[in-house]
């Protein structure tokens, strides 16, 4: 039960932060910028070792927001460099996030074909 509460709080805070950034930089910052910013920001924090503590506390609250996607990219790259050397820098991040990306493309395509826009 505690894990649910911490996930709620950490996930909520990450999203609220994004909303504040969006509201105070309107109309310069769009949802696209927020997504890109969270992925790169999460990756950089993760590389500096600052994101793992957040995951230890928040669990899915830190991995479900896109900053967690950035964390996987960074940690995947680092782990692969350790195992495979230089080429690992190119394979690791994408390997670590492959399931999410492939699922997004396959489900995205399927749903877009099956459904039509509403309204």
């Amino acid at each position: 039960m505690v894990s649910l509460l911490t996930a709620f709080v950490i996930g909520g805070v990450l999203c609220a932060l994004g909303q504040i950034i969006m509201d105070f930089s309107r109309p310069v910052v769009t949802p696209g910028h927020i997504l890109v910013g969270y992925v790169t920001g999460g990756a950089i924090l993760s590389a500096l070792g600052l994101y793992q503590p957040l995951i230890d506390i928040g669990g899915a609250g830190a991995t479900i927001p896109l900053s967690g996607f950035g964390h996987s990219l960074a940690q995947g790259a680092i782990a692969s460099v350790k195992a495979d050397g230089l080429l690992g820098a190119f394979s690791g991040g994408i390997q670590a996030t492959a399931v999410g990306i492939a699922a997004a493309v396959v489900f995205g395509f399927t749903m877009a074909v099956l459904f039509n826009p509403k309204g």
Binding site: Q19, L35, A60, A103, M111
Partner: protein, 194 residues
Amino acid sequence: MYNQNLKNKYNALFNIVQRLKEKKEQAQPQKEKTTIPSNLNPVEQEELQKQIDQQAYQWLVQQHQPRTTWLRNTILAFLVGGIICTLGQIIQNYFRGFGLTLREAGTVTVFIMVFLGAFLTGLGIYDKIGKYGGAGSIIPITGFANSIVASAMEFKREGYVYGVGARLFNVAGPVLTFGFIISVLIGLLYYFFT
């Protein structure tokens, strides 16, 4: 947009308007369409009228309206984002119960959340959540799936290759581009500096 000069002007004007309103209430018959005190010379009157009409009113709207919506948006983003992440945690805990490692359970959770985001977008439900949730529905991975389906669906009439296939990456494309670049950069930095 904020302007100290404008604020001072506005405050001065606002005081005048307030005083005029009070006067109006005291002496009913005056039909005051303008809010300009008659003891000013015509040039000043004109100047004041212009400013009330344009700048002061806009300043008033900007200062008072967004402040409340800002707070409301943030609270809603917190709640919606929190609920989505809690759902993710429930799924993760469920699969952990089957003896999956944390990493495996995390991957399965992302997989299911992506599916849910895409499916709810197809049904038109995710857009309704997004109307209230704002960043709370954009930042979780379900929002990433939503951006993929929404833009792909929109351009279906342009065909399956250049419509759905290409527009799938309208928002996801930049995310993957910058994500891959930063990932490779981190890998290279780690290789050369450790």
